[in-house]
Subunit: 359 residues, 2 copies
Amino acid sequence: MNILKVELGSRSYPILIGAGLLRQPDFFREHVPARDVLVVSNTTVAPLYLDALSEGLRPRRIVEAILPDGESHKTFTSVGRILDVLVANRFSRDCTVVALGGGVVGDMAGFAAACYQRGVDFVQVPTTLLAQVDSSVGGKTGVNHPGGKNLIGAFHQPIAVIADTTTLATLPPRELRAGLAEVIKYGLICDPGFFDWLETHLDELLAGDPRALAHVIYRSCEIKAEIVGRDERERGDRALLNLGHTFGHAAEAATGYMKWLHGEAIGAGLLMAAAMSSESGFMTSAEVDRVRRLIERADLPTRIDGVSPEVALDHMRIDKKVRGGRIRLVLMGKIGDAFVTADYPEAALTRTLEAYFGL
Amino acid sequence: MNILKVELGSRSYPILIGAGLLRQPDFFREHVPARDVLVVSNTTVAPLYLDALSEGLRPRRIVEAILPDGESHKTFTSVGRILDVLVANRFSRDCTVVALGGGVVGDMAGFAAACYQRGVDFVQVPTTLLAQVDSSVGGKTGVNHPGGKNLIGAFHQPIAVIADTTTLATLPPRELRAGLAEVIKYGLICDPGFFDWLETHLDELLAGDPRALAHVIYRSCEIKAEIVGRDERERGDRALLNLGHTFGHAAEAATGYMKWLHGEAIGAGLLMAAAMSSESGFMTSAEVDRVRRLIERADLPTRIDGVSPEVALDHMRIDKKVRGGRIRLVLMGKIGDAFVTADYPEAALTRTLEAYFGL
């Protein structure tokens, strides 16, 4: 097992990464101290892992909230249902909420934990690659609004992230590829060597090789923990983690959160961020081609059909990085060198959207 | 104008208390820097003060969210409606939410501000005595659940509290008396001299004397700011501010938030806390009588009819101060000396509930 730490003073917590953790009962007893535990999961993941987790949590009082699967269910109303379960079971402020599942489950369980009695403990048990490398770490919780992605939520750090890499063996290939988009993102933000490594080892990752997956989970969490530790509330550098997300979120919102997995939209979004960086004169077209090839090899979308450039732009205008009416973007000078800027040619954005969105 | 400061490091903010502040346009321009402002108010307060506030905020873009009046509307669903208005108007993270009204408006507007884009600025403009002396200060935001009072919410500090004492001239007498319950609370918690002063000057307060009201608003905010500055997240002393609230919240929840104003329930709750302190051997019965007389003179309820002691106890079990299944209570050694304890005779609680609740 590998242990990383997110350093946030009194809110610091460990990320535990290893194979078979869900099958080690003593392990969970150690990391979930509460007497009363609410496990939030969904109809896909619960049948696979809820029994093992419950076994590990005994003799605690365990209550379950099982939600429908999918990004389109990540709503304010769903969080209200989780809160109803907490109240109905008379859970007090010293309870713990455990999120067992992917990013959607973790975001909603975390938001419910943030709101219940103005904040109770929660533990992330991510079971998808995307959740293990990205969404379970860093304390961003929340839900979508029909008008925009993740517009409602809270910063609420977990007390532990427990990533059992064995769960990836049951992950559908489409979900695995979606998770790889966030992995590629870390290379693009700040680690060109990691991007090189991904170019070399992508086929192993796509084949589900446990050692290769363990490596990318560790390195991704390491980068994320470091950035979050520096800027918990996204006043500065943390926005780098949004590379590809302004484009990707627009793709998701414009399609009603139904057509694309989050990671798929981010795959296309990363390519758009590279193209935009090139259109704005920051990045070479040769590097854009490297990004495109890796996204293609991961079988992630390279454009978003069914959404007009105008509609995409309209959705981008409600991105959380907008300030004074201006859309700020995460762009790249080169692979492994991302930065946040509002200083780009408007025409470059228009050209990028016209090239990558279309009816 | 008097200015107090809540000292919370980077989240410090001023409480500005004075007559006629809403009629000073320049004043609001100074304290609401944002370009886009959402004013949250209710159908009672908006007709009285919204025009004046809007005048003070021009030329900002001002959008309004006007809610129905009353504690029974302080729900998760109502907060969802405020969030819908923010999204529909494409407000970005640099907007400000202004709460114009009493405690219900402030709690909901603050919770919406806490959740929108994971936190935007908000300003409290309290127009009731209860909001000016208590609920607008300290950053507790949230909504009720049918199962319990304020069970869902967030700690989210305002960037300023602007209390125009002139608004109290339009306050219905019932609301004024409800606010006095929270004022009496501060004397009971930690300031016996203030309690004496209230005994002497209660008639002036009930008559709406501006100087007397200005004094109690200032002193109440001063006590609250000091306690919140010491313990923002209620890990310790801040729970003292809950004196009377475990009993009062049970009375509110058991009557569907329809029968009693919050302050009225707290009036009865303060007397119950005193009686319980006496039953437990902490406080003399002579002091309980002083508390009873002041509550009676303020024309606040001294018992809760229509709720059985058993139902009241059941509601108390979901209080946010419960730990390990045990209800912690704020009790008093004497007037001006409150403390939090789980160490009281169970029989004393039973006797107190049987004396003050009944069908």
